[in-house]
């Protein structure tokens, strides 16, 4: 395997850690709620997954626990933001700090423990394809599930009634209310679902990728997920591309250096953020940002 291929392979695996919370953030933001606490949801998911995985010996039970862990943090955010009308940005940051503190304290005993990680499965047939095979089809099952999840979410958002209601809630909750639906419930559901997805991302990190737990292990992945959604201008397929772009950028420097090519890790790290910023400027220039209207309102009236 050459360096380029290896960078892409690691990029997909690492990018999946970003993809799950990014899809979650996408769903929440489409319903008009930004969650800066994705980092916290991921931490909760990562620790729950690792703890349950280590105790039961089953990484899959761990993943389920990760979903639960993320969802609990998401529920707190949903309650504060939707029911108590709290400032969305402050609530997200608070829950990040809360999850950081809680997982650091509660996870202290798990720091040196081991877990049976999710198995790496080579997809029969597909993994034999040169180039594409090793890059896309030699991973753990959560990576494969994400391949299906992206089109599923795209379909649900654009082709189903619930997706329509969700998007309408993000744009004009009053209209949804008049149509006889309860926008509050839609928003809460979207936030909790999104946070549960972030929990899977955390699980992919702790029982799929590094097979370890240490405090603050998400190291900014949750914030990257927020950036990816902006990069993607709230579209599922672009979220996938963005997540892999960040994943490859994070993985590339190490791999390239191992092959004797000197690059500075941090220049590569900054690149996707820079691209996102340029994309935002370009979108703004082309007139009309694609941000859900309710989201824009939530972000501007927060003082």
């Amino acid at each position: 395997m050459n360096g380029f291929e290896q960078a892409l392979t690691t990029g997909i695996e690492g990018g999946t850690i970003i993809l799950y919370p990014a899809l979650g953030e996408l769903i929440g933001e489409r319903a008009g709620v930004v969650n800066l606490g994705m980092e916290g949801c991921m931490l909760a998911g990562a620790l729950s997954a690792f703890a349950v995985g280590a105790i039961t010996g089953s990484a899959w039970l761990g993943v389920l626990a990760g979903i639960g862990g993320g969802a609990v943090v998401g529920l707190a955010h949903a309650w504060l933001v939707v029911k108590r009308h709290a400032d969305q940005l402050a609530s997200g940051l608070v829950l990040w700090f809360l999850a950081l503190g809680l997982t650091s304290v509660l996870g202290a005993n798990y720091v040196s423990q081991t877990v049976t990680p999710l198995p790496v499965i080579n997809v029969t047939g597909l993994s034999a394809i040169p180039w594409i095979g090793p890059i896309f089809f030699e991973h753990d099952p959560l990576v494969y599930i994400s391949y299906f999840l992206v089109p599923l979410i795209g379909w649900a958002l654009y082709r189903t009634r619930i997706g329509l209601v969700l998007r309408a809630t993000g744009e004009r909750p009053e209209v949804v209310s008049v149509a006889g639906r309860r926008p509050e419930l839609v928003q809460m559901g979207a936030v909790v679902l999104g946070a549960a997805l972030a929990g899977i991302g955390g699980a992919q990190l702790s029982v799929g990728y590094v097979d370890n737990w240490f405090d603050d292990m998400t190291n900014g992945y949750g914030f990257i997920a927020v950036a990816v959604v902006l990069f993607a201008a709230w579209r599922p397929w672009l979220v996938m591309i963005g997540a892999y772009l960040f994943g490859v950028a994070l993985a590339a420097a190490g791999v390239l250096q191992a092959h004797g090519i000197e690059v500075n890790q941090y220049v590569l790290d900054a690149l996707p953020y820079f691209v996102t910023l340029v994309a935002l400027v370009a979108l703004g220039r082309s007139g009309g940002s694609r941000a859900p209207e309710g989201l824009t309102k939530a972000l501007t009236n927060s003082s």
């Binding site: 504060l80 503190g101 650091s104 500075n264 890790q265 820079f274 996102t276």
Partner: protein
Amino acid sequence: MNVLSTKTQDEPKLLAPEELTNPTWSSRLTEVVTAAISTRGLRRLGVALGVYVVCLGLFALLVLSQKANPFGVFNSIFQSALFSNGSIPEVILRAVPIVLAALAVSVPARAGLVNVGGEGQLIMGAVAATGVGVYLGNSVPGFIGWICMGVAGFGAGAVWGGLAGLLRVLVNANEAVTTLLLNFIANDTMLYLLYQPWKDPTGGGQPESRPLSSHEVLPRLFGSSINLGVIIAMVAALVVWYLLKRSGWGFALRVVGGNQQAASRAGLPVNRLRISSMAVGGGLAGLGGMLYLAGTQLQLLPGGTATYGYIAFLAAFLGRHDPFKVVLAGLLFAAIAVSAPGLQLSYGLDGNVVDALLAFIVVAPLVLSSRRKGAF
């Protein structure tokens, strides 16, 4: 549309916000007392107290779950923040970057802008100050070095914040979003410099810059560990208070934040005011980064600001963007941050436990923040 009728429509917006009338202390006190005496006020006070008690109780439960005594932990936090040897100066030193980065949130908030970029602005301030400080070295007298570093720090932060303001005005890119992105670009910029061009060749391979020369370090005052940076930060906070509460610029910001259309009809340069509020905010955070570097850290280190920018956002929120309260909130959070090592040493709790405490303190007003009318 009839000009006159729009004028009358906008008028209440322009004049109504009670903050514009600047009540005196005595009238405010009477207000608070009468509000508290009325039953509704009492009930709200009770609810507020109850929420705080529940939040602190949850933190106590967390501590208990680790078989530590919660009273001991709270006592230890008080000790390390207030009573143990040299604790107060340490809290004050730690508060310098937090308070200035919090004011960096509050100034643009007056103009209705959300600055989540305190972290990046702190970093860029420290980076610029390091660049200038290391470059100047021993070539100039100390006080010229301080001024140059301060100007560089303020300037770099102002550019970082102003850029977000500029993007908001020019292409309508949401500043909450761009400032967040700029945080990461700032952090990566710092790490890039520390791992390659600025790496101290005598630093044993550690990613750290050359230390500032000894006379560039801000001098200590009154034989304590308090340094000149604290005085500068206090002056900066006073200036912010004056600008926001007493100056025409601060008044104009509030008008822009209250009703942008009314502001532009009244002939205010809305775009320039918005950009300037972000630049001044960013500059304050940049100054905070410079003061922390030249007073406490003395060389640029990775993770030197350690999420202070985000803590500052919460401090500004807790202080409701009122300069005086924001300073108090910043001091409170600094005290909590300072207590971390002690909790680790005497109770075996992970140092990050203080993040949970900080969060529980801010969760309370979030729970209570319910707006008067429902959103839908």
